[in-house]
């Protein structure tokens, strides 16, 4: 047959254009198609070629066969736990006891790797702190004890239990006194366990002791209203906040809670409703940095300043004054005092709040009186909703130590406290300890105290523990284990119970506690209630539980240890709801509430203590569950005598005063063997890995001190040698400040990171009736040349002398490109002139009428002006196929609400496996943090002649979290010779680690210097053994398996948590829907307690980040470079009310500079 010329077709389309109907598997073409062309297969090989190839093939195969491939064994699950899916994280609700807030713990394949905030917890509302973020690393610290210890030698639990119990029995039988020394406990079941212990050993006293004490507040309330409480403060209801040295955003009481509240009254992106914040302090704290008016004030003057404010308020209220406080340092003028008092008085109806950070009950009493005058109780302070954190009692501790020294204590059980390290008179404690017959510690490591005791019964890490908590009245949190105990440790409560002969699992004990409280409920109702609480992590009286089904995060109520207890299906939502409501009803209206019984336990404790008689609470006063806040008005305190005490304290103060403060990461030093926290630069001083004496630059220049000098600090009988000096703008002349929590001296293994870092200054704490964190003293220079690891070395003032003349305009300009600041007045005037709110519109005409709050370099925000379009050398991504089609990621950072708390920095480090590089490397400016917080100082005063003095004594401070800006016109991308930086179609600069050859050109060309280089191999490298996330098998368990550990010699940087984006996309895909705003949360965003960071799709006009981007306060860094950043900053707005405090940017001069 001849050739068939017919053409068969199925449709007209096929006939006309056969290609168009070909099914396409890949829209953008088959991968690899361009590599292998069809013509490549038309090979013409000769016989010779065949022989050559065969010869090569045989020899290659022979050579390859010479290497023995190592056999790697993987053991699969015999029975896969139902909740563990490889690659899928599980989240468990728990409670971070040392920060006092609820968290979610992210686990992967059975190991906790990350702490997230729990948005169901009314305290954290999804936020976390730096210390909380870092606590997951402590779980994998090889310094923890791996087994119980007797006299420094590892032993077995049987031995410890037998000997401790028989010892205790003997002591009880002989009528000896047993003391349990713990830190402040907010756990009802723990207190019940101690009460149980007491049943067996009736001679037991329980003393609670906090390294940083809040006993002054409790004492003040005890004398004022007869109840030893810490009330709840609610900053979110305040219009004017005046804080006397209470660093409530950084370290005071519950900074996380306060930051949440504070950010809600400080955000002006959409409204102009902004609280006014005044801070009196001597040391520049986070809180002082955010204040609208910061009044430097010596510690000794703070009480008197409060008297002055009280006097002003009293005269307005028609009450009598409390004595003449006299004059203060030059910063603290009577005009300012009057102004503060007037602001407080004017806002008393809307909500005023005065806080005192002092641990002096006199100051706290005066603070109560001022708040009374302002009518704050019931508005901004709730004395009914008492805070159960920091229940330590300094007097009891003092009593215990003197008892010990007198030989009055036969057995001491230390739980959660470390007085050998952090008690001011540690020597006295140690002396007493030596006289105690039986000493037991429940510490997780051989710390300063547990090195000196006979038995150490190591406690679980909190991520291995069960516990319950009652941080605030009416709220109950549960901790649950997220991993079985790694070492041979035992929950401390179980130890206490077993020594009290009440054996059992603590889990059952907690359930028993809770079941006792809700006794009216059926078992089934309790199970549901329990599981729901466990799932949520929190139970709030009067609030319904969350609906598990609607919860987007996979909270799971799983405990690995006690899975047998979980018998019912959680998905039975009907039962859940009914059970919940019943439980809530029962608990609220029941005869005995949970809170009440805890209080009983507490009172039990108070009855046995000897020193609280003066203000012990009678059981009748606590029989009613609620107190009327108005009852506090009736309290009677002699204001005049308090005032005269405070005034005389001021008048008798010495020239040099020392304040002791905490840093946001290390806090009181309990978890200082945590390299993430040690490497975390202090937000204000930007120093990592050390504590130091902050000295005012003015004072230093007058007295000849320099950065890096070593001084000895003397207060009373205590002298501390070799404290390095840091010239710290904002430190008041005549005062020095030193951070607590450093200078650990643990067992070499237990403290292998922390030992010897910094200096322990707890001995400077003054022991009066309560511990005082400021004291009088003197300093003298003993040496010099000590180098501190600063991540930021230059302030504006350090521009070289030759530049001083030019410095002023250019510094202002530079700052204006980088951090922008304006006043609320300017903003309101600007918005008024535009005739609408802040949501849209910006001043296209420059600074015509009412200067714009932000200098707009380019009018068309986000794009360069049309007339310059053609000048662009960068690729036009938008014209490129598929770029920015659906997603264009962007981030916004609200400088106004950001407090510089550092939670984001540690969150980023934890999420992205960022190595710790150590002090030496930080000193060489090689810290690897992808996200850093830049700190800028500015003078609050525009008068040139006063500038230097005021600048360094009381600068205004701005924090700016800085991560990769993900420029659309990225300078880093086009200079990489090997294409290791890729611009994703979603606008992310993707660093491809395994393509990078490490030329570092990208880092040089980055205007923001956010790129970080792996100078060394930070993993498996003895030189970096403090980086135990990568240098020990145990430490490596904390690594996020979704993120590569970067090799030596490659560049790395923030990638907008691309692994989270991918995870969210997968979830959306399985649910067959588009990504929604909020599906992707970067680690920094999730950690931020101030909601300052938003992340989302800027293509979506309704996304949160788009709204911020469109706002009139939004700007981008160094916009004149036209790098087209994807990170939008919101201008810092200060609610400036005093003319002298106006930010420099408002001055005519700078506005004209453009």
């Amino acid at each position: 047959m001849e050739n068939n010329n017919r053409r068969y077709f199925k449709s007209l389309e096929e006939l006309n254009s056969p290609e168009s109907i070909q099914p396409k598997e890949f829209e953008s073409g088959t991968p690899g198609k361009n590599v292998v062309e069809e013509s490549d297969f038309d090979l013409k090989s000769s016989r010779r070629d065949f022989l050559k190839f065969m010869g090569f093939g045989i020899s290659a195969a022979t050579l390859a066969a010479c290497t023995k491939t190592p056999v790697k064994k993987a053991i699969p699950y015999a029975v896969k736990p139902h909740e563990v899916d490889p690659g899928v994280p599980n989240y468990y609700a728990s409670y971070y006891g040392d920060g006092g807030y609820g968290v979610l713990v992210k686990t992967r394949e059975g190991r906790p790797i990350k702490i997230e905030g729990n948005d169901l917890d009314p305290l954290s509302l999804g936020g976390t702190t730096a210390a909380g973020q870092a606590s997951v690393l402590s779980l994998y610290d090889e310094g923890r004890l791996k087994a119980p210890v007797k006299n420094g030698v590892e032993t077995t639990w049987e031995v410890v239990d037998k000997e401790v119990y028989s010892g205790l029995r003997k002591i009880t039988a002989n009528g000896g006194k047993i003391a349990i020394l713990s830190n402040g406990i907010d756990s009802p079941s723990t207190l019940r366990a101690i009460a149980k212990f007491k049943e067996t050993h009736p001679s037991t006293v329980h003393v609670q002791y906090d390294a940083v004490s809040y006993a002054g507040i409790r004492d003040a309330y005890a004398s004022s209203i007869g109840r030893s409480i810490i009330p709840s403060y609610d900053i979110s209801k305040a219009k004017t906040i005046v804080s006397f040295n209470a660093d409530f955003l950084g370290t005071w009481l519950s900074p996380l809670v306060f930051t949440k509240q504070y950010s809600s009254v400080r955000d002006v992106t959409a409204s102009e409703d902004m609280a006014y914040h005044v801070q009196f302090e001597s040391h520049l704290s986070l809180t002082g940095s955010k204040a609208d008016l910061r009044i430097p004030c010596k510690p000794s003057e703070q009480g008197a300043a409060m008297v002055a404010v009280y006097n002003e308020l009293a005269s307005m209220a028609g009450a009598s004054k409390a004595g003449n406080p006299g004059s203060f340092n030059p910063h603290c003028t009577s005009e300012k005092i009057k102004h503060v008092a007037k602001e407080l008085w004017d806002s008393r109806h809307e909500g005023a709040l005065v806080l005192s950070g002092s641990n002096d009950s006199n100051e706290q009493s005066l603070c109560i009186e001022i708040n009374k005058l302002l009518g704050s109780y019931g508005k901004t302070i709730d004395s009914n909703k008492e805070v159960n954190l920091f229940s330590g009692n300094d007097r009891e501790m003092k009593g215990l130590i003197s008892d010990m020294k007198n030989g009055g204590v036969s057995a001491l059980i230390v739980y959660g406290a470390n007085p050998s390290y952090n008690y001011p008179d540690a020597a006295a404690f140690n002396e007493g300890l030596a006289k105690v017959e039986l000493t037991v510690s429940l510490s997780d490591r051989l710390d300063e105290t547990s090195q000196k005791v006979t038995y150490v019964a190591p406690d679980h890490h909190w991520l291995e523990s069960w516990n319950d908590h009652n941080p605030v009245k009416g709220q109950y949190n549960l901790s649950q284990p997220t991993i079985p105990n790694i070492f041979n440790t035992r929950q401390a409560q179980e130890s206490i119970l077993s020594w009290g002969k009440a054996y059992g699992k603590y889990y059952d004990f907690i359930r028993e506690t809770w079941m006792m409280e809700s006794g009216a409920m059926s078992t089934r109702g309790f199970e549901t209630f329990w599981k729901q609480t466990l799932h949520d992590g929190v139970y709030v009286e009067g609030r319904a539980h969350s609906d598990a089904a609607s919860n987007s995060v996979a909270h799971e109520d799983v405990n690995t240890e006690h899975a047998d207890h979980v018998t019912e299906m959680v998905s039975d939502t009907t039962v859940t709801r009914v059970g919940l409501l019943a439980a809530a009803r029962n608990t609220i209206s029941g005869e005995r509430s949970l809170g009440e019984s805890i209080r009983d336990v507490r009172h039990g404790r108070e009855e046995v203590s000897e020193t609280t008689n003066s203000h012990s609470v009678t059981s009748t006063s606590s029989s009613t569950d609620t107190y009327d806040n108005s009852s506090i008005i009736g309290g009677s305190v002699d204001v005049t005598s308090i005032a005269s005490t405070l005034i005389s304290a001021k008048n008798n103060a010495s020239d040099t005063e020392i304040t002791l403060y905490q840093k946001t990461g290390i806090m009181d030093g309990k978890f200082s063997n945590n390299p993430w926290l040690l490497e975390l630069p202090d937000s204000v001083s930007k120093v990592a890995w050390d504590n130091y004496a902050c000295i005012s630059p003015v004072f230093a220049s007058e007295n000849g001190y320099q950065d890096g000098d070593l001084i000895s600090v003397t207060a009373g009988n205590t002298t501390i040698e070799n404290v390095p000096v840091l010239l710290m703008p904002g430190q008041l002349s005549g005062t020095i400040s030193i951070a607590l929590g450093y200078g650990r001296n643990m067992d070499s293994q237990a403290g292998r990171v922390a030992n010897g870092v910094g200096i322990n200054v707890y001995s400077l704490v003054e022991l009066k009736d309560t511990k005082r964190y400021h004291t009088s003293g003197s300093i003298s220079k003993t040496g010099s040349g000590y180098e501190l690891a600063k991540t930021q070395t230059h302030h504006h003032i350090q521009i070289p002398a030759g530049l001083q003349k030019q410095d002023r305009p250019s510094t202002v300009q530079r700052k204006a490109d980088i951090v922008k600041e304006t006043s609320l007045g300017t903003l309101v005037a600007y918005r008024g002139s535009k005739g609408h709110g802040g949501d849209h519109g910006h001043d296209d005409h420059g600074h015509g009428h009412g200067s714009a709050p932000v200098d707009k370099v380019y009018a068309g925000k986000g794009d360069q002006p049309e007339k310059y379009k053609h000048l662009n050398i960068y690729p036009e991504w938008k014209d490129t196929n598929n770029y920015y089609k659906a997603l264009h990621w962007g981030m916004s950072v609200n400088l106004n609400t950001c407090t510089g708390c550092n939670a984001c920095v540690v969150a980023c480090q934890s999420e992205n496996n960022i190595p710790v590089v150590g002090k030496e490397e930080v000193m060489r400016r090689r810290e690897l943090h992808w996200l850093r917080i830049d700190r800028y100082f500015a003078t609050p005063d525009k008068k040139e002649e006063d500038r230097d003095i005021l600048y360094t004594d009381n600068p205004s401070v701005m924090f700016q979290p800085l991560m990769c800006q993900h420029c659309d016109n990225a300078p880093c991308e086009n200079v990489c010779p090997v294409n290791a930086i890729n611009h994703s179609s979603e606008g992310i600069n993707q660093q491809i680690y395994n393509r990078c050859m490490g030329t570092r050109y990208c880092a040089n060309n980055c205007p923001y210097k956010v790129r970080r280089f792996n100078w060394f191999a930070y993993y498996d490298n003895e030189k970096f053994n403090y980086n135990f996330t990568m240098n020990s098998g145990l430490g490596r368990m904390v690594l996020n398996p979704d993120v590569t550990v970067r090799a030596r010699g490659v560049m790395e940087k923030c990638n907008f948590c691309t692994q989270r984006i991918q995870a969210a996309k997968l979830v959306a895909k399985t649910e067959n829907r588009a990504l929604r705003d909020g599906d992707v949360q970067t680690a920094c965003q999730q950690a931020c307690p101030a909601n300052a960071i938003q992340f989302g799709n800027t293509n979506d006009p309704h996304s949160k980040v788009s709204k911020v981007k469109q706002g009139d306060l939004s700007y981008r860094l160094v916009e004149l470079l036209n790098t087209n950043n994807s990170v939008y900053y919101t201008t810092q707005v200060r609610n400036v009310k005093l003319e002298s405090e106006m930010p420099v940017e408002d001055t005519h001069e700078t506005v004209e500079a453009h």
Partner: protein, 493 residues
Amino acid sequence: MVEAPIREPLILGNKTYKQISDDVIGPIENKPSMSWLAGFTASVLVLGLFAVGVGITLFEGIGAWGLQRTVGWAFDITNFVFWVGIGHAGTLISAVLLLFRQHWRTSINRSAEAMTIFAVVCAGQFPLIHAGRPWVAYWIPPLPNDLGSLWPNFNSPLAWDVFAISTYLTVSLVFWFCGLVPDFALVRDRATKKIPKFIYGFVSLGWTGSLKQWNRFELVSLILAGMATPLVLSVHTIVSFDFATSVIPGWHTTIFPPYFVAGAIFSGFGMVHTLLIVVRKVMNLEAYITINHLEQMAKVIMLTGTMVGIAYGTEMFMAMYSGYEYEMFTFMNRAFGPYAWAYWIMMSCNVISPQVYWFKKARTSPVFMFIISIFVNIGMWFERFVIIVTSLHRDFLVSSWSMYTPTWVEMAILIGSFGLFFTLFFLFSKYLPMIAVSEVKATYKLTQRGKDRDALNGKSIPSDIVYDHDYSYSADKLEKKTIEESLSESHDH
């Protein structure tokens, strides 16, 4: 060709062709002198320092250097640009001056070319060792690979560098080698021992000195000179793009290409000065590398030094005139900031010191010229240091400002790179003819034979002249003379 009768002879001392051959080839044939041995040993020791520095860097990582998050380049790229710059004089002398028929170049071009190649070899070390992962450096050339068509980023000046430097090295090497061929043949023909005869015979590629070979030789020289000349301009232009295409104030400058080229020639001539002033003394080549040669180079140094000075001034002016505050700051910071000392070393060494060459006394005194040449070397090293470090250490965000201090490893590598350079140079001076014998002889005839020479020397040609094999003809002679004339001339021998 116009000869200037009053011009001083390029080669002094009434050399005969044989004497020239003896003078130049002698060191190859004889045992090394003590001074050579001492110098070579010292160089190898310093090269050992280089090996130690590089070894530590490769073993530990770039962290062994003083670089950090803000200053990502310092000594490494400074050294790279410094050595590349030095590599400019050789090609300029051999190629550009060849094209311009500057006969004085013949005495110095061989060593200048050698210097070029060795300098480029030194320069080439730095891009390699400065990379975090040098073992993947082969990713930069566009090699076929199994990752799809994952090629280098042709937008990156670092990729351009690779092409520019490798092209330059190749062309320079070929040019140098071609010029060496007739001289290799001369060594071969004079050699008495078997092994040298074989080796030099091998590398002389069967050179017989036939007319055809001379013709090809001259043509190849011209073609290579034509190819090398634009490279002189392009290499440093492209190196300057490493900085000019960035966004960093102080780097992002359009003046960089001409400014870098001028600086490179400046530093290259400086280094030629340094070397030749020593070499002519040590190797007894004063007759060939005369004061006249040195003076010519001093003039080039003065010219290019002035050009560099104008470039500095222009940069500063443009920064102040631009209204671009970051750039204004960068330049003020250069001049008055913490690295001001480096800036003023650069200014005084590069701009002020060559100005003494306005005085004839200065540019005819070898000692003085040696001192100035050292200044030029130092100044030009600091120029690169100033450009790189002072621009980076304080750029846009005040928060990132920092100071850079080198570690001993970097110092060792910098010093050691001189060891590498001098080791190669000593080897060259021992095993290769340091002066282009054939070209010198050609020049010699042109400038010194006949009545001019007689007039200058005041005497006639000695009668006892014994000509050895003389293959030297210059290109211009070929143009002028007929083949018969040439043949008849060679019959003279």
